[in-house]
């Protein structure tokens, strides 16, 4: 019996560890709205400060010299939340790093840390990277933000580049892009695929503004072609967990949705959709070959050009912090190839809407935009400001599920 208890204790301990790991939560919504960034002005025509399309330096910011003074190769590091071969988010970021390395050759030494969990450990990872001589550090997951802020204060001579955040610092930039525009385009494909007035499912990660505004963009796309369709969302509370993504997709499909979208990387939702043969909108990667019969399209990113420009700026001593918000006009965001289900009519509509959004980003949010509870959030004829977009924390009408409780 004693030995049996010993086994029981060990198994119990292991079970408790997994139970504890299971309930990660990420509800901290950003409450500050972005001040500095407004439009795509080419700030500072002087040649000693970095300029780039869709990049706005923070107000009152100064140039940070973060290249080695002796002219040796600049060391830059990327911190990833997932594995570099996740087939989505981290893989596209790593492609950006490889792009930088390839173009700059021996002028830069790039490294990366993968599978870094969100939380205070990130600071330790950054400490190590700085100790190794890295002077430009890229962070690629929302949950790294607090650690990046703390490290930016600790190392004022290191240039930090943060993707998908909202805080500003003299040596910490924010970079991301208008995926709500490409999600809108993919929403058109989903709306056209589902019968009129039917339900469409979405497998979404965390209910944070970045994801919610993409969801709203998607729903507007659905409604563009299928005004009476409704959208049902299941929040998985994870960025990457294919098994949970599949279960979430199955739960939506069994509840009767006629098309499904995933805002998460893995093809797990596609696997579940394939079983029932319903149309699937993916995210981050082109699955048009492997899932041709059910694939619709996906919203995709190209991180490389911005990251390259910022590292070049650092080498030239022109690096400055600011906000980069890429869009369709500079090809930061794009949509993947279509699958067999997408009709020519839908393709034509998406093409014309793409032109409209390329000229006017966020034009799909032209008011009136009504929230789920019926309040008008964006007035008739108005287009939301950058700040309003960044702080969008409500679901629009047409979504039938509630946001998760805080």
């Amino acid at each position: 019996m004693k030995k049996f208890l010993k086994i029981a204790t060990v198994v119990t301990a292991a079970a408790l560890i997994f139970a504890a790991c299971g309930g990660s939560d990420e509800d901290s919504a950003p409450d500050t709205t972005m001040a500095g960034a407004t439009d795509t002005t080419m700030a500072g025509e002087t040649s000693d400060v970095f300029t780039f399309t869709n990049f706005t330096p923070f107000e009152g910011g100064t140039v940070v010299k973060c290249a080695p003074a002796d002219g040796s190769a600049l060391k830059a590091a990327w911190i990833y939340v997932g594995p570099i071969n996740d087939g989505g988010w981290t893989q596209t970021h790593n492609a950006g790093r490889e792009y930088v390395q390839e173009i700059l050759g021996d002028k830069v030494i790039t490294t990366y840390k993968e599978n870094v969990p969100e939380g205070p450990q990130v600071e330790i990872v950054i400490d190590d990277l700085v100790k190794d001589g890295n002077t430009v550090i890229f962070g690629t997951s929302f949950g790294f933000q607090d650690a990046f802020l703390a490290s930016a204060a600790k190392y004022p001579d290191v240039c930090f580049e943060f993707a998908t955040g909202y805080t500003q610092k003299n040596n910490m930039s924010q970079f991301y892009g208008a995926s709500e525009d490409t999600k809108y385009l993919s929403g058109i494909a989903a709306g056209a695929e589902a019968p009129e007035g039917s339900e469409i499912g979405v497998v979404a990660p965390f209910a944070i503004p970045e994801v919610i505004r993409g969801l709203n963009g998607f729903v507007l796309g659905v409604q563009k072609v299928n005004p009476t369709a409704t959208v049902k969302v299941v929040w998985t509370n994870t960025w990457f967990d294919p098994a949970i993504e599949r279960k979430a997709a199955e739960s939506l499909i069994s509840a009767g949705v006629k098309a499904i979208a995933s805002f998460q990387d893995s093809p797990a939702t596609g696997e579940a959709a394939k079983v029932k043969g319903i149309g699937w909108v993916g995210y981050d990667s082109d699955q048009s070959e492997a899932f041709n019969d059910i694939w619709l399209t996906a919203s995709t990113y190209d991180w490389g050009p911005y990251e390259l420009a910022k590292i070049e700026a650092a080498i030239e001593g022109k690096w400055i912090s600011g906000d980069y918000y890429g869009n369709l006009s500079d090809n930061f965001i794009s949509i993947a190839n279509y699958g067999a289900k997408v009709t020519q009519e839908t393709k034509d509509l998406i093409a014309s809407e793409r032109e409209r959004l390329t000229a006017n980003p966020a034009a799909q949010f032209t008011g009136p935009i009504t929230a789920q509870d019926g309040t008008v959030k964006i007035a008739e004829g108005a287009i939301p400001s950058y700040g309003e977009l960044m702080s969008m924390d409500y679901q629009i009408k047409g979504i039938t599920t509630d946001l998760p409780q805080k």
Partner: protein, 319 residues
């Protein structure tokens, strides 16, 4: 009728319970021979990654590749189990420590992820996943169709294995010898049973079944390699053996119960029944703890079928 929420929950119970059953059945054989194997998680992951490799590299028709992948997944699990058997039976190390080190060594941050990197299995999609099979249109029958016949070949195989295991354990001479090795290796040795041989064979068999469980994760649930994809399923499997009182039939039921729990939260969510997600996600593990507490109680242990020699190395010289 087939969209009834109960039918859907039961169907997902079978779907997600199948890999748990494979791993648990393997552990059951191992423990029946008196060897405790806490390395199940590591063996599942090694099986899973090897099966993905096989699926990407073996040429041939789809069903042939699928069979080969299952076989290679089982083989990889068996290899790791052979190491465990060597440590526990030949070297007579502490079985708890050996098992734990195997899970750490081969697990999510160890060998399985290393091979995933070296073989570069994660960046490619799996060309021949193990997909759901509808035998003779049975899946369309009401209620039982979606629950039992909207499954993969591995599920159908697991039922055959379950029946065979019950017959083997309780109706054959070899099964009796196996149980006697687990109960009293000294006695078994005295009547001429080769204790070491039985322990080796059943530990390796257990590893092979765990490998198939891992294969189910990487080729069926998500046909793509993800480091640590089993997420603790190996530990649930070990608890299931106790939950099923070391009997294959009860273990199968337990596996389906735990499988159903794993997707219950999301199924309810998609139907606007809001339950705290974190609690539901933790349910299988909380259940594991509860089960272990219950079966550790004094009233239960008299009725339990715990192999008496479980976890104790057999040393002939010490008789």
């Amino acid at each position: 009728m087939n969209n009834n929420i109960l039918v859907i929950i039961l169907a997902s119970g079978v779907f997600y319970g199948t890999p748990l059953f494979f791993a648990a059945l393997g552990e059951l054989f191992t423990e029946r021979s008196g060897v405790l194997n806490l390395g199940v998680e590591g063996m599942m992951l090694m099986g899973g990654v090897s099966a993905v490799w096989a699926s990407q590299h073996i040429p041939g028709t789809s069903w042939f590749v699928v069979l080969c992948s299952i076989f290679i997944g089982a083989f990889a699990g068996a290899l790791v189990a052979a190491l465990h058997a060597f440590l526990c039976v030949t070297l007579r190390t502490n079985q708890t420590v050996a098992g734990l080190s195997i899970t750490i060594f081969a697990g999510a941050l160890g060998l399985s992820s290393y091979f995933a990197n070296v073989w570069d299995v994660a960046s490619k999609t799996v060309q021949h996943p193990i997909r759901i099979l509808n035998p003779g249109g049975l899946a369309d029958t009401p209620i039982v169709g979606p629950i039992f016949f909207h499954q993969t070949i591995l599920t159908y195989l697991s039922w055959v294995l379950c029946v065979l295991s019950v017959v083997y354990l309780f109706r054959t001479r070899t099964g009796l010898k196996l149980r006697s090795v687990g109960e009293s290796p000294q006695t078994a040795d005295a009547v001429g049973i080769n204790v070491a041989k039985y322990r080796y064979i059943h530990t390796i068999l257990g590893g092979a079944l765990a490998g198939i469980g891992g294969t189910y994760y990487s080729l069926t649930i998500v046909p793509q390699w993800v480091d640590g994809v089993t997420k603790g399923a190996g530990w649930i499997a070990i608890a299931l053996v106790i939950f099923g009182f070391w009997r294959p039939d009860l273990t199968l039921l337990g596996a389906y119960l735990f499988g159903a729990l794993q997707s219950l939260g999301l199924t309810l969510k998609a139907r606007n029944i809001e339950i705290n997600g974190s609690i539901l996600d933790a349910m299988p593990f909380i259940m594991t703890v509860v089960v272990l507490v219950i079966v550790s109680g004094g009233w239960a242990h008299k009725r339990l079928q715990t192999p008496a020699a479980l976890g104790i190395a057999f040393e002939r010289e010490e008789r």
